[in-house]
């Protein structure tokens, strides 16, 4: 699986709307808005890991499955399924997010391996794109 170029562009675009869904032990779904996503390689992304009240990270400790929806108004959208692949705490990984958040709020970068991508745009909704 390789993240297609158009999806990668949308993921890193500041104006696209990105949300990540994770699930706790009681099957309660938590959805967080992501200000920023960093593409690391052909199938790996990083999202910020926060020092306080990071429900996404808390859920990923028990259930590694994630679903990310990205939306470019008005109608272009994709859904990415993936798996939690650990936390990176290197200076480089923190630097990706330092322009968006105060340094003391950042605990590291959550690494996610993308496993599937589907179109959500109306005409082709549900089509697997990668």
């Amino acid at each position: 699986m390789k993240i297609p170029e158009d999806v990668a562009e949308m993921l890193e675009k500041e104006t696209s709307i990105k949300m990540i869904g994770t699930v706790d032990a009681d099957l309660s779904i938590n959805i967080e808005h992501l200000k920023v996503i960093k593409i690391i390689d052909y199938d790996t992304i990083h999202i910020p890991h926060f020092t306080d009240n990071d429900r996404t990270f808390d859920n990923l400790q028990k259930n590694k499955k994630v679903s990310i929806a990205i939306f470019e108004p008005a109608i272009i959208a994709f859904k990415l399924n993936g798996l939690f692949a650990g936390v990176k705490k290197t200076e480089e990984s923190l630097n990706h997010f330092s322009g968006f958040f105060d340094a003391e709020k950042l605990a590291g970068a959550i690494s996610i391996k993308i496993t599937e991508i589907y179109a959500l745009t109306m005409a082709i909704a549900g089509d697997k794109v990668a």
């Binding site: 869904g21 994770t22 699930v23 959805i31 259930n63 679903s67 929806a69 959500l120």
Partner: protein, 128 residues
Amino acid sequence: MPTLPDIVLDTLAEPGTVNMVGTVDKDGRPNVVVISTIAVLDTETIAFADVCLGKTKENLTKTGRLTVAVLGTTGKKYQIRCRFVAFDNKSDMYDRWFEQVKQRMILQLSGVALKGIAIAKVTEVLQD
């Protein structure tokens, strides 16, 4: 029963608000999609159109859990956790929605049809 506070109702009513719906399957796999038809039926009940729901519909019928993420134009963020009630395609409400959804969707794509209306009860509201 938890109810939707005024601030959430106001945000849902803003034209530029983006709503996403998360569901989960029996294996704990989440599924998040963009839904543009979220409507408030009363302060305890929300609804959205089933135009081309795939995995979302399957998950709702199997686990009944959903969360609506609301992102307002001013950056206000809320999560509305809900319990799925039913898909309605028989009541007067369905008939009213059919024309409204058709009019809205025809702007994006011809040939789409409303299959039903997903109805859910609010169980918890979180401010992010």
